[in-house]
C-alpha cells in the first residue's frame, strides 16, 4: 500500500481553475487515473438560510434567488409556494399560467447554460458560444415578461408582479421557431460529433439503483431511467392542465444526462406553446391583496398590467405554522421548508437545492476515470457551485 501511495499525486483542482467553478476538487491521481475525487464546496458561502431569519417575507424573495443565478424562477416559485401554503391562499388561474410560463423559459435558458458549460469543458468552444448566444432570445423573452434579466423576483405571494405584455405570444413563437431550427445545428455539429460521442458515452455511468440510493434529483436522475419529475409527482402551478412528457434516458452516462437536458428543452417549448394558447383571462393577484390596494392605484395597475404593492405588503405577516413546498427546477428538485412563528420574519427557513444533492455524485462517478473525464462528468452533472453552498 505504501508504494501505491507514493505513486499518487494529490491534485488541487480549483478554486482558481478554468473548469472548477467556485469550488475546489481534491483529486488523487495515479498517472492519468483518478483514484479519489473529493469536492470541497465551501468557497461561495452565501448564508441565505441564516439571513432569511432577519429579513421580512418579501425581502427574502430576491435573497433566495441568489444562490442559483441561472435558475432563479424555481427558487422564487418554491419559496412563494411555501409562503402561500402558510397564508392559506391560492393564486388566480392566470397567475398560475404566468408562473409556469416563466418557469419554462427559465428552464430552457438554464439548460442552455449547462450545455454551454459542458461544451467548453470538453473543449468545444463552439458549443459554448452557441448555447450562450441562444440563451439570449430566451433571456429577452423573460426580460420582456418580468422587466429583469436574470433575477426576476416575478412571483410574489398571491400572484405575479406583471401581466403578459401585448404581442408577447408572437414574439415567443418566433423565438421558439428559431430555437427549433438551431436544434438541428446543435445535433449536426455537436451531439452527433464522433469526438463528443467518444468523450461522453460510457463515461461516468450512474446506475438506476445508485441514482435512487444517493438521492440524486433532476435530469441526472432521469438520465438513469427514473421517471421522477416533481411537475408530475406533485403538480403545482398550471402543470396539471398541461401536456408534457417526462424525459428519461436509460444509459445513465454523461451523454444520457446531456441528452435529457436537450430533450427537456424541446418539452419546455411545447409547454410554452400550450401556456400561450390556454392562458385564461383574469386577475394576476389574489383578491385578498388586490382589495388592499387603493382604488386609484388599482385602476392604474389594471391598466398597465403591473402590480403596485400595497404598503401593507411590505409587512406581510404569515400565520404561525410550518410549510414545505417542492418545485422541479432546471437542475432538479428544489425544496423549501419554512417555520413561521407569526412574526414578520420566518423563525427558520431551510432550502434544499438540487446541486447540493447532486454534489455527492462527484465522488461516486469519478472513481477510476481519467483526469480528462473529470470536466466531462462535471459538465454533464450541470453542477452549479453557489447553489450547493447556501
Amino acid at each position: 500500500m505504501s508504494s501505491m501511495e507514493e505513486r499518487e499525486i494529490e491534485l488541487l483542482i480549483g478554486p482558481q481553475h478554468p473548469a472548477s467553478g467556485h469550488m475546489r476538487l481534491v483529486a488523487k491521481v495515479d498517472g492519468d487515473v483518478v483514484v479519489e475525487l473529493r469536492p470541497n464546496i465551501g468557497y461561495v458561502h452565501r448564508s441565505v438560510e441564516k439571513l432569511a431569519e432577519v429579513k421580512k417575507y418579501l425581502q427574502i424573495i430576491p435573497l433566495v434567488e441568489r444562490p442559483s443565478l441561472a435558475d432563479t424562477t424555481a427558487n422564487n416559485l418554491a419559496y412563494v409556494m411555501a409562503v402561500e401554503k402558510l397564508l392559506g391562499i391560492d393564486p388566480p388561474e392566470r397567475a398560475k399560467y404566468l408562473r409556469t410560463l416563466l418557469a419554462e423559459i427559465n428552464r430552457i435558458h438554464s439548460h442552455l447554460y449547462g450545455l454551454g458549460i459542458h461544451g467548453v469543458m470538453i473543449g468545444s468552444s463552439t458549443a459554448y458560444m452557441w448555447c450562450f448566444g441562444d440563451r439570449e432570445p430566451f433571456l429577452e423573452l423573460a426580460q420582456e415578461l418580468t422587466g429583469a434579466r436574470l433575477t426576476y423576483s416575478y412571483i410574489i405571494p398571491g400572484g405575479v408582479r406583471r401581466d403578459l405584455p401585448a404581442g408577447f405570444g408572437e414574439r415567443a413563437e418566433r423565438v421558439l421557431r428559431y430555437m427549433e431550427n438551431r436544434m438541428k445545428d446543435y445535433f449536426d455539429l455537436y451531439f452527433n460529433n464522433p469526438v463528443v460521442r467518444a468523450r461522453l458515452e460510457g463515461v461516468g455511468v450512474l446506475s438506476r439503483d445508485d441514482a435512487i440510493r444517493l438521492g440524486v434529483t433532476g435530469p441526472n436522475l432521469r438520465a438513469s431511467g427514473v421517471a421522477y419529475d416533481v411537475r408530475r409527482a406533485e403538480p403545482y402551478a398550471a402543470y396539471p392542465e398541461l401536456e408534457f412528457d417526462v424525459v428519461t434516458e436509460q444509459a445513465g452516462d454523461s451523454f444520457a444526462r446531456v441528452m435529457v437536458r436537450v430533450r427537456e428543452i424541446v418539452e419546455s417549448m411545447r409547454i410554452i406553446r400550450q401556456v400561450l394558447r390556454k392562458i385564461p383571462e383574469g386577475p394576476i393577484l389574489h383578491e385578498n391583496y388586490e382589495k388592499l390596494i387603493p382604488p386609484k392605484l388599482r385602476e392604474e395597475m389594471k391598466r398597465r398590467g403591473m402590480v403596485k404593492f400595497p404598503s401593507v405588503f411590505a409587512n406581510l405577516r404569515v400565520p404561525a405554522g410550518e410549510a414545505i413546498s417542492r418545485v422541479e427546477g432546471g437542475r432538479g428538485e428544489v425544496v423549501f421548508h419554512i417555520v413561521s412563528d407569526g412574526k414578520l420574519s420566518p423563525y427558520r427557513m431551510r432550502m434544499v437545492t438540487p446541486s447540493f444533492r447532486n454534489v455527492i455524485l462527484f465522488e461516486h462517478l469519478t472513481r477510476g476515470v481519467r483526469v480528462a473525464d473529470i470536466p466531462a462528468i462535471y459538465g454533464s452533472l450541470d453542477y452549479f457551485p453557489p447553489e450547493a453552498d447556501r
Binding site: 491534485l11 473548469a19 492519468d32 469543458m121 467518444a198 483526469v371 480528462a372
Partner: protein
C-alpha cells in the same frame, strides 16, 4: 551591395526569410487571426474587430504580440530557472530549424542532401523533448502531468508518421525532398498512396496539438499543461512553436503528397516558393478550422488512435507503396 547579395544567398535567405523565420512569423500572425475569425464565423460572432478596422482586425495579432512582449514574464519560485527560461527558446528554435532542409524550388535550396527528408523528420522529433522538460522544470503538478501527456503522445504519433512519410520515400525511391517533389510532375503522391496521405495528415495535426488532439495543453483539464507557469513573451514563444511546427510539417506534407511546387513546372524560385507556401498555408488553415468543429479527445483515446488506427494504416501504406513498385509504377525520370 555585398551584404544584400549575401542575404539572397539560399543558405541565409531560406532559413531566415522565406520559407524561414520571417515567413513563419507572418504566417503565425495571419493564422492566429484567421483561426479566431473562422471560429467566430462558426460561432456567430465577430472575432477580432478593432485593430485595423477596414481589414477586419487583421493586425490584432500584432497588437497581441506587442502586449506579450511588454508583459512581465513571471518566473515562479522553485522552478529550475535555466531550464524554465531556455526551453521555450530551444522549443521555438527547433520548431523552425527543419526549414533549412526544405527546398523551395529544384534549384533554390539552403542545404541539399540525399537524406533531407530524414533530416526534417529527425529535427521535428526533437521539439517534444523540450515540452516534457518544460513540464518538469515548472515544478507544478499541472505542468508535470501536461508534460507527461506530451511524452505519451509523442510515442504514439511519431512512429506511424515516420512510417507513412517513409512509405512515400519508398515509392519515389529517394530521401531527397527535391527529387521527391520532382517525381510528382505527372501525378501527385496523395493520389498514388491516399492511405499514407490520410495517415500523415491526421498525425500532423495530432503532433502539433490541433483539435481534436489539443491534449498536452487542455485548459479545462490541466489548465495549460506544460505551459501553465509561463507568461509574457516566453509564453508567446511556446504557443508559437506548435504553429511553426505545423507550418514546417505542412511544407513537408506539400512536398511529399501535394506535388511540392508542381503543377507549374518552374525553375523560378519565387513562383515555386509561392505555390509551395500556398499549399502549406491551406493545410495550416484547415488545422486552424478544426478548432471550430471538434472538442478534444481524451489522452487514452488519442493514443488509441495512434496505435490502433494510424499505426496499421501506416503499415498498409507501406504495403501499398511496395505493391505499386512491384506493379511497375515508375515515377522517377
Amino acid at each position: 551591395m555585398d551584404i544584400i547579395g549575401l542575404l539572397f544567398e539560399p543558405y541565409i535567405f531560406i532559413p531566415l526569410v522565406f520559407p524561414g523565420l520571417i515567413a513563419a512569423f507572418i504566417l503565425l500572425l495571419i493564422i492566429i487571426w484567421l483561426e479566431r475569425k473562422i471560429a467566430a464565423k462558426v460561432q456567430l460572432r465577430y472575432g477580432p474587430l478593432y485593430v485595423l478596422k477596414p481589414l477586419g482586425g487583421v493586425i490584432q495579432t500584432v497588437a497581441d504580440l506587442l502586449r506579450y512582449l511588454f508583459q512581465e514574464p513571471i518566473i515562479p519560485k522553485g522552478v529550475d530557472r535555466i531550464a524554465f527560461l531556455m526551453t521555450p527558446v530551444f522549443l521555438f528554435g527547433l520548431a523552425y530549424l527543419p526549414l533549412v532542409a526544405i527546398p523551395v524550388s529544384p534549384t533554390y535550396y539552403a542545404f541539399r542532401s540525399d537524406v533531407s527528408l530524414l533530416l526534417v523528420l529527425a529535427l521535428t522529433t526533437l521539439a517534444p523533448i523540450f515540452t516534457v522538460l518544460m513540464g518538469w522544470a515548472s515544478n507544478n503538478k499541472f505542468s508535470l502531468i501536461g508534460g507527461v501527456r506530451e511524452g505519451y503522445l509523442v510515442i504514439s504519433y511519431e512512429i506511424p508518421m515516420f512510417l507513412s512519410a517513409l512509405s512515400m520515400a519508398l515509392l519515389y525511391n529517394s530521401l531527397d525532398l527535391v527529387e521527391i517533389a520532382e517525381a510528382q510532375r505527372r501525378i501527385w503522391g496523395a493520389l498514388l498512396n491516399p492511405v499514407a496521405a490520410l495517415t500523415m495528415l491526421l498525425l500532423m495535426y495530432m503532433s502539433t496539438s490541433r483539435f481534436p488532439f489539443e491534449i498536452p495543453e487542455a485548459e479545462s483539464e490541466i489548465v495549460a499543461g506544460p505551459y501553465t507557469e509561463y507568461s509574457g513573451i516566453i509564453y508567446g514563444l511556446v504557443m508559437g512553436a506548435s504553429y511553426v511546427k505545423l507550418y514546417v510539417l505542412s511544407l513537408v506534407y506539400s512536398i511529399l503528397f501535394l506535388g511540392g511546387w508542381n503543377p507549374l513546372p518552374s525553375n523560378d524560385a519565387i513562383l515555386a516558393g509561392t505555390i509551395l507556401f500556398i499549399k502549406a498555408f491551406l493545410l495550416v488553415a484547415i488545422g486552424a478550422f478544426l478548432r471550430a468543429v471538434y472538442p478534444r479527445f481524451r489522452i487514452d483515446q488519442a493514443i488509441g488512435i495512434g496505435w490502433k488506427i494510424a499505426f496499421p494504416l501506416s503499415l498498409i501504406s507501406i504495403l501499398l507503396s511496395l505493391s505499386l513498385i512491384i506493379g511497375g509504377v515508375s515515377l522517377v525520370g
